[in-house]
C-alpha cells in the first residue's frame, strides 16, 4: 500500500492565555506519514506532541498551516477526516460504569457499526489485548493499567485507517505494553496507519518504523531509530570504569559523558578495538553496549536546549 496517510505543512499553534503570556506550542511542524507506517512523536513534556495530535485529529484548530489526512483537509473537511480516524486521548478513561466489553461495543455502535460486527470485533479485541478476565467487570474496579488497555482496545477495535495514540501504554505493565505493541503491529499489517506519542523510548524503537523528535514546537530530527543514534556520533557505548580521570586520553574517540567515576564514550564500531586496547593499557576495565535511543534522544534534545 502506498501514498500518504498524513501530510502536515508548516503547522503553527499559538495560545493566548488570559492574563498571561502568549505561548507558541507549534512553530512550523511539517511531516509526512505513509500509509501502513507506525510513526512515533518523541519529545519532552510540553514539546508540542499532543497539540499536533489534536490538530491532526480535528480536535484543535491550528493558527496557520495545513494538515491533510488521506487527502482531506483537516480544517475544512473535518467530517470526512473523522470517518477515517480514531483517537486514544492522553489521560483518557473509560466510562467507570461500563465494563470493558460494554465500552468497546457501545463505542463501535456509536461509530455506526452494526451490532453483529461490533460484537465480533469486541470479543476479538478483548482476547487480543488480554482483557478477557476483566471484560465483564465495571471499569471503576479496574487498575489504571487495565483501564488504559481498555481505552486502547476501544480504538484498536475500530481498525480505522489512521489511529492517533497519545501515550497509549502509560501506566501499563510490560505484558500489557507488549500486547498493545503486537496489536498495533497487526493493525498496520492489515493496512492501518499509526501516529503515536510516547515517553517510553524502548517502545518507540520497538514499535515505530520512523520517528520525529519534537522540541519547543518544531521538529528537531526525523528518521529511523538507527539514524537518530547515528547522529550522536556512533552506535556503540563503551563504559570505562575509572575513566573519568583519563577523559583527555579518550577525547579523540567521540562524545563522552561522566557518570560517577565511569566515563561513557559513544563511538563508531570501527574504533572499538582501538579504545579497548587503550583502556587495557591504562589499567582500566571497560564494557561495551549499543547506544540506546534514550541516550541518543538525550543528546539530540540536550544539544538543542544548549543551543537555545
Amino acid at each position: 500500500m502506498t501514498g500518504e496517510a498524513l501530510h502536515a505543512t508548516d503547522v503553527r499553534k499559538t495560545y493566548r492565555i488570559r492574563g498571561g503570556p502568549t505561548v507558541e506550542a507549534l512553530s512550523g511542524v511539517s511531516m509526512t506519514v505513509q500509509r501502513g507506517e507506525r510513526v512515533a512523536l518523541l519529545g519532552r513534556n510540553g514539546a508540542g506532541k499532543t497539540t499536533f495530535l489534536k490538530i491532526a485529529s480535528t480536535l484543535l484548530t491550528p493558527t496557520s498551516g495545513q494538515i491533510e489526512v488521506f487527502g482531506h483537509d483537516v480544517g475544512s473537511t473535518p467530517d470526512e477526516v473523522r470517518r477515517l480516524i480514531a483517537v486514544v486521548p492522553q489521560e483518557g478513561k473509560p466510562f467507570f460504569h461500563l465494563t470493558p466489553r460494554e465500552q468497546i461495543y457501545t463505542y463501535l455502535c456509536a461509530r455506526g457499526f452494526d451490532r453483529r460486527t461490533a460484537k465480533e470485533r469486541t470479543s476479538a479485541v478483548l482476547g487480543e489485548m488480554g482483557l478477557d478476565e476483566v471484560a465483564d467487570r465495571l471499569s471503576i474496579t479496574l487498575s489504571g493499567g487495565q483501564r488504559q488497555r481498555t481505552m486502547v482496545a476501544t480504538v484498536i477495535a475500530t481498525a480505522a485507517p489512521l489511529l492517533f495514540l497519545d501515550e497509549p501504554t502509560i501506566g501499563m505493565d510490560p505484558f500489557g505494553r507488549r500486547s498493545v505493541w503486537e496489536s498495533l503491529r497487526g493493525l498496520t499489517r492489515r493496512g492501518s496507519t499509526i501516529l503515536l506519542t510516547t515517553h517510553y523510548l524502548d517502545e518507540a524503537e520497538a514499535l515505530s518504523n520512523r520517528l520525529y523528535v519534537v522540541e519547543r514546537g518544531r521538529v528537531l530530527v526525523e528518521g529511523t531509530a538507527d539514524s537518530l543514534k547515528q547522529q550522536v556520533g556512533g552506535t556503540l557505548r563503551v563504559s570505562i570504569a575509572g575513566g573519568v580521570a583519563f577523559t583527555s586520553t579518550f577525547a579523540s574517540f567521540g562524545g563522552s559523558v561522566a557518570d560517577g567515576g565511569t566515563l561513557h564514550v559513544i563511538l563508531d564500531p570501527s574504533r572499538l578495538t582501538e579504545i579497548l586496547n587503550l583502556a587495557v593499557a591504562s589499567g582500566l576495565s571497560a564494557t561495551v553496549g549499543p547506544v540506546t535511543l534514550e541516550e541518543a534522544f538525550l543528546r539530540v534534545v540536550g544539544r538543542s536546549i544548549d543551543e537555545d
Binding site: 473523522r82 461509530r111 455506526g112 492517533f164
Partner: protein
Amino acid sequence: MRTEPAHRLSLFRGTVAFSLTEFRVQAHEGIAIFTSMITQVVLLIFVTILARQYLSVALLGAILFSLFTLGQRVLNEAAYIRVDHKLNQLYLASPLTPGGYFLGISVGVLLTYLGPILVLVAIAVVLVPLTPILGLELAAVGIAVWLFASSMGYVISTTFRDMRAIWSNASLLFNLFGVLPPVFYPVRLFPLALRPIALLMPPSAASAILQNTLSPGTLSSSDLLLAVVGLAVETVVMFVFAVAWARRTAQER
C-alpha cells in the same frame, strides 16, 4: 481503503447508540435519580399542607421543573466526561457528529431520569386531573423545556475547565430559574410589572400556558401569545445554537 459507514442511517444509529450508552452509564447513579426529585417533593408537600388549592399548578410545575433541571444533568455529564475522562475526544474524533454527541448525552439523561417524571405525570392524571388536551399541552411544553434546558446545559458545559466550579454554578443556575419564577405557583401571584420576564423564561412560560388551560382567563391573549411564541422561539434558537456550538467546540480554538 476501509472506511466506516457514514450514510444518514448510520449517523442516526450512532446517535441512538450513544444515547443508550449514556443511559447505561447514568442508570448506575441511583442516588442521583432519587435526589433529582427532592426539591419537587418538598415543595409539593408544603403546597399540600399550606395551600391545597394550588396543588394542581404545583404538580404541573414539578413536572416542568424536573424536565428543566435535566439541563443541569446534561451540563454536569458533558463537563465530567470532557474534563475528567477526556472521552469527548474519543467520540468527537469519530464518525459520530458533534450534534449527535450533544443529542446523545441529552437523550441519555432524559431516559435516565424519565421514571420519576412519569410517576409525577401519573399522579397528575389523578389529581389535576389531566385531560387529553392538557396532557398534549403538557407533552408539547415539556419537550420544549427539556430541549431548551439540555441545549443550554450543553453550551454552558463547554465553558468550564474545573469540575468543582461546575457543580455549584450549575445548581445555582437551574434552581434559580426553576424555582423563583412562577413555575410551582400561579402566575397571577407574580408581580404584574415583572410578568413579561416570567413569560419569557421557558419553565415559567410553560407553566403559565398550562395554568391558562387549567383556569381559562389566567393570561390575557397577548400574555398567552408572548408565552407561546417566546417558548417556541427560545427553544428553537437555543437548540440550533447548541448544535452549531457543539460543532464549533468540537474543534477547540
